[in-house]
Symmetry: C2
């Protein structure tokens, strides 16, 4: 049975379910940052997924990347699976801007998370949901 | 025509050609770190590749991840495409250990690269080439 890791639950808002992954918004207003969590229990590495699941993961990642890129006019998209702290496999898709606080460094481990105001996260979640729902995998 | 970015050329050693990517070893003995560069010119983002190319990329990444994981008895594999500094699309596959210098943080931007001794890189390259050549995509 798939259960979301409590740390991911605490740090993110639910966006939508894709075919393989649960898409969630990181509660950090410094960076537009979506986390994709494959709904597979006990998986910690991308290469533990089946070939079909890996194809779905990269497809859902790219779908999310395209949406974030257009929505935030990003200069760069960063995608990654690290998991050094939270073992459950989760995939980062982050819209980066040349002016953002961590640029050009990575966002992980950079300073403190800055939570959204409630209205702000609600508006962004609606926007992401409306956009992703129009997509093949959303 | 595909040309490797001069920065990637300077920082890495060639390992082998896979179906989509050129695999290269990062010249940094602190971390077992392979860079996969899709042989496609002008591509800066994973989502700019075709669906088939994205599938190949994740497949070649996982092949490399499995090899590094076994070879170095890694605690974790980190995979990522950042490209905030070098625009040419390149994909990181890094074997992490709980005892490594940057753990549990990311390796990018962490301290100074520590180049291999010549004998050491030659031995590792041979080992990687021999292992990857036995693989479907190597």
């Amino acid at each position: 049975m798939y259960t979301l890791h409590p740390q991911l639950q605490a740090d993110t808002f639910p966006v939508c379910d894709m075919e393989l992954c649960e898409a969630r918004l990181m509660n950090d207003r410094r960076f537009p940052w979506v986390i994709l969590v494959p709904r597979r229990d006990g998986v910690t590495e991308v290469h533990q997924l089946s070939a079909d699941e890996q194809n779905l993961l990269i497809h859902e990642s790219s779908l999310t990347a395209g949406v974030l890129s257009r929505m935030f006019e990003a200069d760069k998209i960063n995608v990654a699976a690290l998991g050094n702290l939270v073992p459950q496999l989760h995939w980062h898709v982050i819209a980066r801007s040349r002016g953002d606080r961590a640029w050009p460094g990575p966002v992980w481990g950079y300073g403190e998370r800055l939570p959204y105001e409630k209205k702000e996260s609600a508006a962004l979640l609606t926007k992401l949901q409306d956009t992703l729902r129009g997509m093949p995998c959303g």
